[in-house]
């Protein structure tokens, strides 16, 4: 490089200005941090100061180059008669300033080291809610930020890892024609870039810090999960806060992601008979309530929703007051609290989303549907309308389902799979949602079996329970299965996070998880019979069959 240029830089004191600027800026930044803490200024104040200094650096140097101080004031350097220049004197002044600043900076550093208690005001005391229930582990803590974000923390130092679940109260039930599947698509977009991070960066940063993540969408909620080493906790907060606050939608990414979801749909619905039948049965079981929409969405909606739809959706549902976060693992409530204050407190609350008010009208008679598909093994699915997650009868129904389909000793497995040999499998689940939902039976039938026969055997078995109830031995079995399953869930920090969030969101409080054992003991055989009688009625059923089109004679 040209030495004359560097000499001229030096002559015009550009280097000295740079030094003075850097030391001065560092000192003022430190003062901003101290002042920010002392005066309880917003968290971004010192950062703003820092950014301004960084941004101002180059302009300051250009300024030093272009202008020169003369006895007549500031003039452009090129306009100054070199013989009259006082740059040397200015240089001396800069030297003196530098020396003073260095001394001040040294004093500041020492003060910072020696007097931290004097310099920093204690953060506001942590306002934790300790558990109140008698069975709740006493180390669990919860708190709610001013913006409505509720956070539950369960420390467990068994392994050096942490699990985060973020339950967002939005799912298929918040959709309508035109945007069916948007909750699920949105879940995909939550990994696809913000105003700070390019698409793909979220995952790259998280995985590079040792973390992994996933998410799922149901008819009721969208749940985000992170599994990470303790060392990554700050990165996780940064990433989670960033996508809650600054999510952005790159139109190219939106288009590409439609393809991903269509592929997901083809493998789990179009090429999966069971997924296909489920979708059709649910769409038929509900006339009015949005539980009728598939979580993945109808294909035409996947193709047609817009970036504006996504933006509205984010504003409405991805507000802190619509989320519950759970942290379990190698953390303390104090560190989660202070990270939450730092990263989440600045995200504004929004008006609560519009309530879903549609109530499914009473079903007036059995509904049937048939899908003809080239298949060797027919399928039979039956959906009964039942209660919501928080209804008291729901526990009895779940225990009843253990007796009916839970494992090789269950009534229907014994009957349909082992004795009659008309099914390869039989299962059922209670879809537990915010609104009254379904108890759903799914059977894979043996090749050549007439689905009507399986249907009548299944109803005969259910009718027997309505008429005669279950035995005490069966009730005890259900109790033991639920007890053992509780401990299985408690064996991992993931199981703990999932269960706490589930009970907080669907049952009103995470503490209810720990009442479960007593509640299970209180359920009687009569409760189970009543639950069966309320639900297992033919007029309350939607029956779906998938089988090959009839060709040759039957049987």
């Amino acid at each position: 490089m040209s030495t004359p240029f560097i000499a001229e830089l030096s002559r015009r004191n550009v280097f000295k200005v740079a030094f003075v600027y850097i030391v001065g800026a560092a000192l003022l930044y430190w003062l901003a941090v101290v002042a920010g803490t002392q005066l309880e200024l917003p968290w971004w104040f010192p950062r703003l100061v820092g950014i301004l200094f960084v941004v101002g650096f180059v302009p300051a140097l250009i300024f030093a180059w272009v202008y020169e101080i003369t006895p007549y004031g500031l003039k452009k350097a090129v306009d100054v008669d070199q013989t009259q220049s006082i740059v040397f004197k200015t240089g001396q002044k800069l030297n003196a300033s530098l020396a003073v600043l260095v001394v001040l900076a040294a004093v500041a550093m020492i003060a910072d080291r020696l007097l931290p208690e004097l310099a920093v005001v204690e953060p506001p005391p942590f306002v934790f809610d300790a558990p109140t229930g008698p069975n709740v582990p006493e180390e669990i803590r919860s708190f709610t930020l001013d913006n409505g974000l509720k956070i539950i923390v369960w420390p467990d130092h068994d392994i050096p890892n942490v699990v985060m679940y973020n339950f967002v109260r939005v799912g298929g039930r918040n959709e309508y024609p035109g945007i069916t599947g948007l909750s699920h698509f949105f879940e995909h977009m939550m990994f696809n870039g913000s105003s700070n991070l390019e698409p793909g960066e979220f995952d790259r940063i998280m995985e590079a810090a040792g973390g992994a993540n996933n998410a799922y969408t149901s008819n009721d909620v969208t749940v985000y999960q992170d599994w990470f080493p303790k060392s990554a906790i700050r990165t996780i907060f940064e990433l989670e806060a960033d996508r809650l606050d600054n999510l952005a939608f790159d139109p190219d990414v939106v288009e590409s992601e439609r393809g991903v979801v269509q592929s997901e749909r083809r493998s789990s619905v179009d090429d999966d008979n069971s997924g296909l039948l489920y979708e059709q049965v649910m769409a038929s079981a509900y006339l009015a309530h949005p539980y009728r929409y598939p979580v993945l969405g109808w294909p035409s909606d996947i193709e047609n929703w817009t970036v504006e739809d996504l933006e509205d959706f984010h504003r409405t549902y991805y507000a802190p007051n619509n989320c519950v976060m759970v942290f379990t693992g190698d953390v303390t409530p104090e560190e989660i609290y202070s990270l939450a204050e730092e990263f989440f407190a600045g995200i504004p609350a929004e008006d609560p989303p519009k309530a879903v008010t549609t109530v499914e009208p009473e079903q007036l008679g059995v509904r049937r549907l048939l899908i003809e598909s080239p298949t060797q093994t027919p399928l039979l699915h039956i959906a009964f309308h039942a209660g919501r997650a928080s209804d008291p009868e729901t526990l009895a129904m779940n225990m009843l389902l253990e007796i009916i389909v839970g494992g090789d000793s269950s009534r229907l497995h014994r009957l349909l799979v082992e004795e009659l040999e008309i099914a390869t499998y039989v299962g059922a689940f209670h879809h537990e949602g915010f609104d009254p939902s379904t108890v759903y039976f799914y059977l894979g039938l043996r090749s050549g079996v007439d689905p009507a026969r399986a249907e009548s055997e299944l109803f005969a078995a259910l009718d027997a329970i309505v008429a005669e109830g279950v035995t005490e031995a069966e009730l005890d079995k259900a109790r033991n299965i639920m007890l053992a399953d509780f401990w299985r869930a408690m064996a991992t920090i993931d199981g703990k996070a999932s269960a706490l969030g589930d009970f907080e969101v669907f049952h009103g409080s995470y503490e209810r998880l720990f009442d479960r054992s007593d509640a299970v003991d209180a359920v009687s055989t009569e409760d189970l019979r009543t639950a069966a009688a309320d639900v297992f009625r033919i007029n309350n059923a939607t029956i779906g069959v998938l089988q090959a089109a009839a060709q040759e004679g039957k049987e």
Partner: protein, 475 residues
């Protein structure tokens, strides 16, 4: 607003944490009859887990009768000791227990999980299953007929389950690893009750059993109970079957499985990989993490994140006592079949040409070690880990030394493993399941095509006689 500070911090925080994870203490005992016991006390929850392996597995299935060991494993649950089939199942469930059996390529696995208070019952049930099974003929017939329909049902709509079966059948050809562990419609038709009785007599016994337990129990009591239960058991009567090591395939060939109503093409592309004992395991796991082992892997980034061609793409190794399969798997809409496969091949070529860069290696190290503790959290995972270590002849260094080995890997050591283990594009086996009519022509460019219908009752692929690749041409 938070942009600069956030990114600055994120970058600074990328310091490798080779968090060391070690196996908890355990006690290993070998009984006189050869049974190996491994005990690990863990009392965080009132549960006990047992993981039990009998060496042999599907390797012991007679020729043409794939699925014998699998049927035997299922039959063990259908009545044992004093209890009939229904009563046995009822006894397990009545106390909230879980018990399951399965056959694998090289072992039969019995897995149990009970509340600690029912530990004695668990041992009694498992000892009955293994040493006093009913092996009832009617139950056998029921299981066999049902298993045939389970396979038909998978052919109707569970391609994820079928693809590995077809892939290994086509890749391994005549080798023992080609067999379908759960059998095929035709092999199950051929199996008789006596085959299962013979297998039990010849291949199930104390000399080839490993019992790992972890959970809330007293080790001394547990040891005494297991010794009492299994200490007197007989050995199996026949030699333990072993697979030969097989070299990677040379050349390319294509299997096209026709499923006319499929909307997507499901594909697997691979070759023979490595055995469990492969010494550069850390380098290989780093390589595979980057290539196709996590969400941001090269494959998933190309086929999903950047192009939207699929919901997922990945690479997987199956590491047996001898080298197993190594392959890329994904699926895409029928019309984009060639585009997606070409893209996967392009990623493979890039992987070979460029290896894993410094920054990416650091990321993979952090990822593997960050996720590693999650694999050793529960009694179930620990029992399984102890059993696997014993089964594959490894030692505690397999876990305890893993962090160090990961930390020690370099871009050069990983590049060497990529070169040695991952197939080049000239030596690839392609398995495609989809609508053959739509893609038959276009996939010929990958190699000679063998086409079968999905309704074909056997998974064994008659290697197209005229085009079978020259196996003797070697490396």
């Amino acid at each position: 607003m938070k942009c600069l500070p956030v990114l600055g911090f994120v970058l600074l925080s990328f310091v490798a944490h080779a968090q060391s994870v070690t196996l908890p203490p355990s006690e290993r005992v070998v009984l006189d009859n050869g049974v190996v016991l491994i005990l690990n006390e863990k009392d965080d929850v009132p549960l006990v887990y047992i993981d039990l392996l009998i060496r042999g597995g599907a390797l012991g299935d007679p020729d043409g009768k794939d699925g014998v060991s699998s049927l035997l494993a299922s039959l063990l649950e259908k009545g044992a000791g004093e209890r009939g089939s229904a009563e046995f199942a009822e006894t397990v469930a009545a106390v909230g227990g879980r018990l399951s059996t399965s056959a694998n390529r090289e072992n039969i696995n019995v897995w149990g999980n009970f509340l600690s208070r029912d530990t004695d019952l668990m041992i009694e049930l498992i000892a009955d299953m293994l040493m006093r099974p009913a092996l009832d003929a009617d139950e056998f017939e029921r299981l066999r007929a049902r298993q045939i329909d389970v396979i038909r049902s998978a052919k109707d709509s569970d391609f994820g389950r079928l693809m590995p079966i077809y892939a290994e059948a086509f890749l391994f050809g005549d080798h023992a690893y080609a067999a379908s562990v759960s059998g095929s419609e035709s092999s199950l038709e051929a199996i008789r009750h006596q085959d299962v009785l013979d297998y039990y007599e010849q291949q199930v016994g104390a000399d080839r059993m490993i019992v790992a337990v972890s959970g809330d129990f007293d080790a001394a009591n547990m040891r005494a109970s297991l010794e009492a239960a299994f200490g007197e058991w007989r050995p199996a009567s026949a030699e333990l079957p072993q697979a030969e090591a097989t070299a990677p395939q040379v050349g390319t060939r294509v299997l096209l499985i026709d499923k006319p109503d499929a909307t997507q093409t499901y594909f697997w592309i691979g070759n023979v990989g490595v055995a469990r004992s492969y010494p550069q395991r850390a380098d290989l796991n780093l390589a595979n993490t980057v290539f196709g082992g996590r969400f941001t892997s090269m494959l998933n980034t190309a086929l999903r994140v950047e192009s939207g061609l699929t919901y997922g793409a990945r690479s997987r190794l199956s590491r047996n006592l001898k080298p197993g399969s190594l392959g890329i798997s994904s699926y895409t809409e029928t019309s984009s079949t060639v585009e997606a496969i070409d893209m996967a091949l392009g990623v493979l070529a890039t992987f070979h040409a460029e290896g894993v860069g410094e920054e990416m290696l650091e990321s993979a190290k952090n990822y593997i070690m960050g996720q590693f503790p999650d694999n050793l959290e529960t009694g179930s995972q620990l029992a399984d880990t102890f059993a696997q270590i014993e089964f594959y002849g490894l030692d505690s260094g397999y876990i305890d030394g893993y962090g160090e080995a990961i930390a020690a890997a370099t871009t050069e050591s990983v590049a060497a493993v990529i070169d040695a283990v991952y197939p080049k594009e000239d030596d690839l086996v392609f398995v495609l399941l989809g609508n053959a009519e739509q893609i038959r022509e276009s996939v010929q460019k990958y190699g000679p095509v063998t086409e079968v219908s999905i309704t074909e009752p056997s998974f064994a692929i008659a290697q197209s006689l005229d085009e079978s690749p020259d196996e003797s041409s070697g490396d």
